[in-house]
Symmetry: C2
Subunit: 451 residues, 2 copies
């Protein structure tokens, strides 16, 4: 049996009983994290460009977009939610492949689940299977595929979406094989567009492609049964090497989702251990922005290459400044989007602290590690060593930290009571009887612009 | 100026006055050929799978699908028409690259043109520029790109569609560059799915991707300005080599569309010179199916490799049988879809003639050439040499042959008077004031299934 058939069969037939408790829990965490970042991103003006296309297009009000009042079609909702999930670069990351599995996959499960009135348990299982298969396909072609210039979230994402949508549509194995064929030949997204709106468009388009593939497969549309491993298939054409045993070995026994991490901080991951260190240091006796004489860090070489910006002038630049991130880490104890506004980078206290921070390269240091020494004006020094930054698989975001992230990111989008109800529902997703309940909470009642 | 900017600027600013008369005429021929094959294909049951997805989805009735009563959204119409254009493998072919430029490009111009009420002249210019740029991008990456496993019509097609749609939307050069970026990163379609419905899905999806790209670019969506030539762009990621001067040199002076051919026969191109020969022989004195003793052909090696089927059992097999194709060529003087039905392959006269046909390889023979010797029972022999099959750029389908193809293919889909009005309108496309007039004629008034 080839990889396509093996994975399609698994996606079509594995049940909740086959999924370990910790993976089911991880799936809920993905939903919470995804909706936190998508709801936050829904305030971005770029979403209006998509919504205007949808408004002119019309169509059934079948599926919700996070943070948007009116519903839209399955395909449009999938695209918009995939876009929102990745827009802030704040979604989950499968560490071995740098795939962001939630952004292309969950929108498919949300759209199809909402329209069909699927249970939360079914949506959860469909999403877990979709994300797992997406990451496994990534493992088969990584690192060759990404190194060749592909945005792996856009390409492998079509499979996550097709599996999630196909599963909720009740596709049997032959239909799921067809769905993978139709989805896989739509795999696309090159890294050239990084830095533009077209980057988060990739998981959006993947989500849509997978939904369309599943719908067509359901109708009997034919495709190749060997889209992954075939001579002119995904592996051969989109990668210089592919190892399909890495995708199929231990299916149902070991889980790639265990290597999926949720980001605590709204900036590039190379800065994360440094923020961890600052949050650790702020509770030491006598430490405050005013009492600090100097802060010096030993860092992985990428820090100075990518994020050495002592004087950021706008909020977005702050996300690429280790100095700013460390300063707000000490002052605010956080690095949420609120720490990366234009106002925050010009705050005099933050500016003054930034000037006292520097870093030197330690070529022995791991990418998610750092060592920071803080010296008080009185001469006392504290040293903190971070071995694995928060959010890495070895040091996952705690459920409490994830809840805080959810509350902070959704606080300006939904009323406080709604935030708590939604959070509670997501922690109990496997007991939700109709996915529409979840989505109804994620749509604001009144929005001046987008009603 | 890079290739992306050069081509986008040309697509946004060239006018009808910059396009030679013979290319404007070729553009009209592409419309006639495209609508002939799309209308014919609209009777295929696989279209119902797409239409059922559309029906459930709903949406504005803005754009027509060839042969379908109700209109649908721009994106859906573009996808369906691109699918229909390529479904029968009977569309145009840019010989140097084997791109079928009409199928991904014309649906974009038809959809946007219909909704906006564009003039026929504007739709014609937009389509010519789209197809030309699509083929030129193909030239830059051919043959490396196709050899790597890409279906070049699906991949390069997104640019044809984006240019055609963007042009009709009135995008300026910066917006057209964005449209190319958004379209180019959606380029997809692998050859693994050949032989299934997902192959014609490729130009359909390309058409849709280009329309979406143009709509988003119009709204200000940002993308990369170097999607073609960039370090992680289309050429670098989807091809082992790319030569962008081949895409940009002589823009507006020499035309790739001059190398675009329209197929006279509804079968694989390697059989075409043999059918030409039979049609030439049937007018010789004394020649009929009954009087023939034997027919022997000297052919390119691919003929025996690909299409040696002495006894086809179903119509589709007839398309891959040189014996059947030559027999109907002599008896019917044609090789339209009507010559490839199940009934026709079992016709006793056709079977009897097939048995008297054989071919031998001549390794010196060109792929679009053949030599056929026909011997009558009385002993008289005729020999015909075909140097370039009809439909090759060196021996184009005549306007009269194209009209016959149009009439034959649309005859069962539209009433006879409508066929003639539509054909007349397409020959005068540059004088049509509103593209809706053209599309209205391509929608049947009464269709039992698809109203």
């Amino acid at each position: 049996m080839g990889a396509t058939e093996t994975l399609a069969r698994y996606g079509a037939t594995a049940t909740a009983a086959h999924i370990p408790e910790d993976i089911l829990h991880e799936g809920k965490r993905c939903f919470i994290n995804f909706l936190a970042v998508a709801l936050y991103a829904s305030r971005d003006p770029s979403l209006d460009i998509l919504l205007e296309v949808y408004r002119r297009e019309g169509g059934g009000r079948h599926a919700s977009i996070a943070g948007v009042g009116p519903r839209t079609t399955l395909q449009n909702a999938a695209l918009a939610n995939g876009y929102l999930g990745h827009l802030e670069d704040y979604d989950d990351t499968h560490f071995p492949t740098v795939i962001h599995p939630s952004s292309p996959t969950l929108p498919a499960a949300l759209a199809v689940g909402e329209q069909m009135g699927a249970s939360g348990r079914d949506a959860l299982v469909a999403s877990i299977l979709g994300m797992e298969i997406c990451c496994r396909i990534g493992m088969a072609v990584h690192p060759y595929h990404y190194d060749a210039g592909w945005h792996i979230t856009g390409t492998c994402g079509v499979f996550g979406s097709a599996i999630a949508a196909g599963r909720l549509l009740g596709l049997d194995t032959p239909a799921m094989i067809r769905a993978m064929g139709i989805a896989g030949t739509q795999a696309s997204g090159v890294r050239e567009v990084f830095g533009s709106m077209t980057k988060p468009f990739h998981p959006g388009r993947s989500a849509q492609s997978g939904v369309l593939a599943a719908l067509l497969a359901q109708g009997g549309f034919s495709s190749s049964p060997t889209i992954l491993e075939g001579r002119r298939g995904f592996g051969a054409v989109l990668s210089t090497e592919s190892h399909w045993d890495r995708a199929t070995d231990g299916l149902g026994e070991r889980w790639e989702l265990q290597k999926n991490g949720l980001k605590p901080y709204a900036c590039g991951v190379v800065i994360h251990p440094l923020i961890d260190a600052m949050i650790g240091l702020r509770s030491k006796p006598g430490v405050s922005a005013e009492t600090v004489a100097s802060i010096s860090a030993r860092v992985h070489p990428l820090v100075l290459e990518l994020v050495d910006r002592p004087n950021p002038q706008v909020g977005l630049e702050g996300k690429f400044s280790y100095q700013h991130s460390m300063a707000v880490g000490l002052i605010d104890g956080a690095a949420f989007p609120a720490q990366y506004t234009d106002d925050r980078v010009h705050d005099p206290a933050v500016e003054a602290l930034r000037d006292r921070i520097d870093a030197t390269i330690d070529s022995e240091m791991a990418e998610d590690a750092a060592e920071v020494t803080l010296t008080l004006k009185g001469g006392i020094s504290y040293r903190v060593v971070i071995a694995n930054a928060t959010g890495a698989p070895e040091n996952p975001l705690t459920d409490a930290q994830l809840e805080e992230k959810f509350r902070v990111l959704t606080g300006d989008v939904l009323p406080k009571a709604r935030v708590e109800r939604l959070l509670n529902l997501l922690w109990h997703l496997d007991q939700v009887t109709h996915m529409g309940e979840v989505l109804a909470l994620a749509r604001p009642r009144r929005r001046s612009i987008r009603q």
